[in-house]
């Protein structure tokens, strides 16, 4: 995409046509990779054997559903994507893909992914995937994102559904374990995004997105990060006492929660002058740690499930 310029996808040589990669970029591949991982863990830790090919297909279509909601989000948010530094290189603001194409792709892939997951796994999983797409595209993108500073809190549910969909794809029903995996991501999302918003504030302000940092200031955001991190801890630890947890998970979770709490505490103690002086070093390190936090929690679930056949994982 080196020939993108400010002329809406035009170069001196003429119009630029979107390549295959530009349509793939509409599906937010980085978000999809997280969805693949959490959905796969949800599916593998379920106490039901799933044929490997069915598992592969299920995870693929859960990821495709997430990609479809990403395309719908890019269609809806094209105007604010153009303003933000982080997003203005996306295919629509760069003029490579027309908004209508993104809408068409998003709707088509939504239908396809829901239908195929229903066929590959079960109707319940397909219905939950459809609800996830609806939640992200309509509830978060169209409704909450531009109307409330709590957008991240409620909208975080969209990112929390994939492990639950994976679990339902395997078992056909929702259980306590699936709810706790959901809760882990749901409670993790606000401190994760708010620590990002602390050092990306100017961009959200320019786009008019009511992030907490913009509407209530950074002091309130710092308070919120600490409170939500404290609330996250019992949710993360509780999963350790269910059938998907075990001593390994509990040990990993205790360490990670201690680290996250320590990071949230450090963010809370700082004021703006100190943060600006060191280029938001603490906020950036906590943001990076939060990614590791989630990855290792789900990794620990997987380790417990993988060790079970040898009589080691679980309680």
């Amino acid at each position: 995409m080196s020939d993108i310029n400010a002329n809406g996808g035009m170069t001196e040589a003429g119009p630029v046509e979107a390549g295959f990669g530009d349509y793939v970029a509409l599906l937010k591949p980085r978000v999809m990779s997280l969805v693949v991982f959490t959905a796969l863990v949800g599916l593998l830790v379920a106490p039901v054997h799933v044929h490997p090919f069915v598992a592969f297909t299920s995870v693929l279509f859960i990821a495709l559903g997430a990609g479809a909601s990403g395309a719908l989000n890019m269609w809806w948010d094209a105007d604010i994507d153009q303003v933000m530094r982080r997003t203005k290189g996306r295919p629509i603001p760069a003029g490579l893909v027309q908004p209508g194409e993104a809408l068409g792709l998003g709707l088509a892939l939504s239908g396809l992914s829901v239908m195929m997951l229903s066929l590959a796994a079960n109707i319940m999983a397909g219905a939950l995937l459809a609800f996830t797409i609806f939640f992200y595209a309509v509830v978060y993108s169209m409704w909450l994102k531009r109307s409330t500073p709590q957008n991240i809190v409620i909208g975080g549910a969209a990112g929390a559904f994939p492990p639950m969909v994976g679990w339902v794809a395997a078992t056909g029903s929702v259980s306590l374990e699936a709810c706790l995996m959901f809760l882990l991501i749901f409670m993790w999302t606000p401190p994760h995004f708010w620590s990002l918003a602390l050092f990306m504030n100017s961009d959200y302000e320019k786009a008019g997105v009511p992030m907490l940092t913009v509407t209530h200031g950074k002091r309130v955001t710092r308070n919120h990060i600490l409170v939500y991190t404290i609330a996250l801890v019992p949710c993360a630890l509780a999963a350790g006492f269910t059938s998907i947890g075990g001593p390994i998970y509990l040990a990993v979770s205790a360490l990670l929660n201690a680290g996250f709490l320590w990071g949230a505490w450090r963010i809370w103690r700082r004021d703006e002058a100190v943060a600006e002086a060191d280029g938001y070093a603490t906020e950036k390190s906590v943001f990076k740690f939060s990614i590791l936090y989630l990855f290792l929690h789900f990794g620990a679930f997987l380790a417990e499930a993988a060790l079970k056949p040898w009589g080691m994982g679980g309680w």
Binding site: A13, V16, E17, A18, G19, F20, G21, H51, V54, T57
Partner: protein, 66 residues
């Protein structure tokens, strides 16, 4: 006389068409694989081959006409 060099736009179109072709081929393979797995792992299936099988005829009801 040399041909005009191919415009970059055709390369992009080719890449897009090739990508789409591969995705469609992958989808067909996926549906085929899924069908094989579902059929071989499911309940035993019976093929109906237009041959009368008396054991499948419902038993006459007591007191009925059949």
């Amino acid at each position: 006389m040399a041909f005009k060099p191919e415009h970059e736009i055709y390369k992009r179109r080719f890449g897009r068409n090739l990508g789409l072709g591969l995705v469609l081929a992958g989808f067909v393979a996926l549906v085929f694989g899924l069908t094989v797995v579902k059929v071989t792992n499911g309940d035993p299936m019976q093929g109906f081959d237009h041959v009368v099988r008396p054991e499948m005829t419902p038993a006459p009801q007591p007191g009925g006409n059949g």
